[in-house]
Amino acid sequence: MGVNYPGFNDTEPLFIQIARWLENKIVTGQLKADEQIPSTTELSAALKINPATVRKGVNILVEKGLVYKKRGMGMYVAANAEDSARDDRRERFRDDYVRPMLEEAARLGISRDEVAEMVKGER
């Protein structure tokens, strides 16, 4: 992939990866409310990805209400984007992280209690 940004891979659809990459910046507060996000032109050149693919990725965030368009100005982070992206991820946390962890634990014969102990002991 022409992408030399961390976190991009060759197997997942690129527009989904772009959406997640931008969403990460919002969740971590690196892109703040009412801050302009990089334009499609900028993003496509920097990531070396077709602008149509970039637009598709950004549109996912528009549909989620995380970014909004100012006519003739570009895309901006919505006021409640950080909270709403975080809530969304909290809802998916069980599916995305807890369940795969328990599946792997089951494969390895690690009991639920042992997992719970590990979680508590983790700093």
């Binding site: 992939m1 022409g2 992408v3 030399n4 060759d10 197997t11 997942e12 659809p13 690129l14 527009f15 032109t41 496509s44 050149a45 920097a46 990531l47 070396k48 990805i49 077709n50 602008p51 149509a52 693919t53």
Partner: protein
């Protein structure tokens, strides 16, 4: 939006059919990948599009007009590769300054800027360029032609990784500015996959895929596990390739939805192929 239409293009050299009834459309404002193995017909297609060679049958239309001996149409199509026809004693800067006689919208300033970005000395004679710089020079001539249709045949040949990354960035930047259609043929499929909106796949002269690049990738999946289990899972499905290692087997299955992990027999794993993995599977011999 301007459109190039290729209709039932066939090219035979003696008894060999290099291109077999290929039809496709190329629209301004899109970047296409032209993929296939060596000898699949990519370069033949490119030379027919640019009128460097004549088809045995079929036609190439630009906005409805046949490109054959059509100067106006041909000024709007620039295929990298033609410059091999240029005499080796010519200097890069002389090619740039004479290009406007063939491509009236040539952007010499942009060409010079590209030379500087790639570190190509414009005073050098074409015959004195290394393999990589010969490719770079040809890419620069094509990209600065001002044509609406820019066809880059193997633009990465001999380029180091830094120059390839620079090239991909410049292609996207130029595309964003001009909306020229780019058709890029390459063997570095995964590296270029992100550039393409749509891909054409040629195999033994025939067009076997003309699809949105993501959709094409998702039209197949890889399944891996114990040979017996994989074989019973893939029975009755369209299998592109299958390979064994020890008592394990991996197969690339085309068509149908990717099975969810829950629907899979224990011990089998599915994954999505990269575009390159899929291309290898689609164009494997036999």
């Amino acid at each position: 939006m301007s459109m190039m239409e290729i209709r039932s293009l066939t090219k035979r050299y003696g008894s060999k059919t290099a291109l077999d009834d290929v039809s496709l459309k190329i629209a301004k404002g899109s970047i296409y990948g032209l993929l296939g193995r060596n000898g699949a017909g990519k370069t033949t297609l490119v030379s027919l599009i640019s009128n460097r060679d004549f088809p045995t049958s079929g036609e190439v239309l630009l906005d409805g007009a046949n490109v054959k001996e059509n100067d106006r149409a041909l000024k709007n199509i620039c295929c990298m590769g033609a410059e091999q026809l240029l005499p080796g004693y010519m200097r890069v800067k002389d090619v740039i300054s004479s290009m406007r006689y063939f491509y009236k919208n040539t952007d010499a300033e942009y060409a010079n800027a590209l030379c500087e970005k790639f570190g190509l000395d414009p005073k050098k004679r074409l015959s004195r360029l290394s393999t990589g710089y010969r490719t770079i020079a040809k890419v620069i001539f094509a990209m600065s032609s001002g044509a609406d249709y820019i066809i880059l045949d193997e633009p990465t040949l001999g380029l180091d990784a830094n120059h390839r990354e620079l090239l991909y960035k410049l292609i996207i930047e130029r595309f964003n500015e001009t909306e020229a259609a780019f058709v890029i043929s390459t063997h570095l499929i995964d590296e270029c996959a992100g550039l393409f909106e749509r891909v054409f796949v040629l195999r033994e002269g025939r067009l076997i895929a003309d699809e949105d690049s993501d959709a094409l990738r998702r039209s197949a999946y890889l399944v891996e596990g114990k040979t017996a289990e994989v074989d019973s899972f893939i029975a009755g499905k369209k299998v592109l390739t299958r390979s064994e290692v020890g008592s394990f087997c991996s197969a690339c299955v085309s068509g149908g939805d990717v099975p969810s992990p829950d629907a899979l027999p224990d011990g089998l794993e599915v994954s999505q192929p990269t575009l390159q993995q899929l291309l290898i599977a689609m164009t494997e011999e036999g």
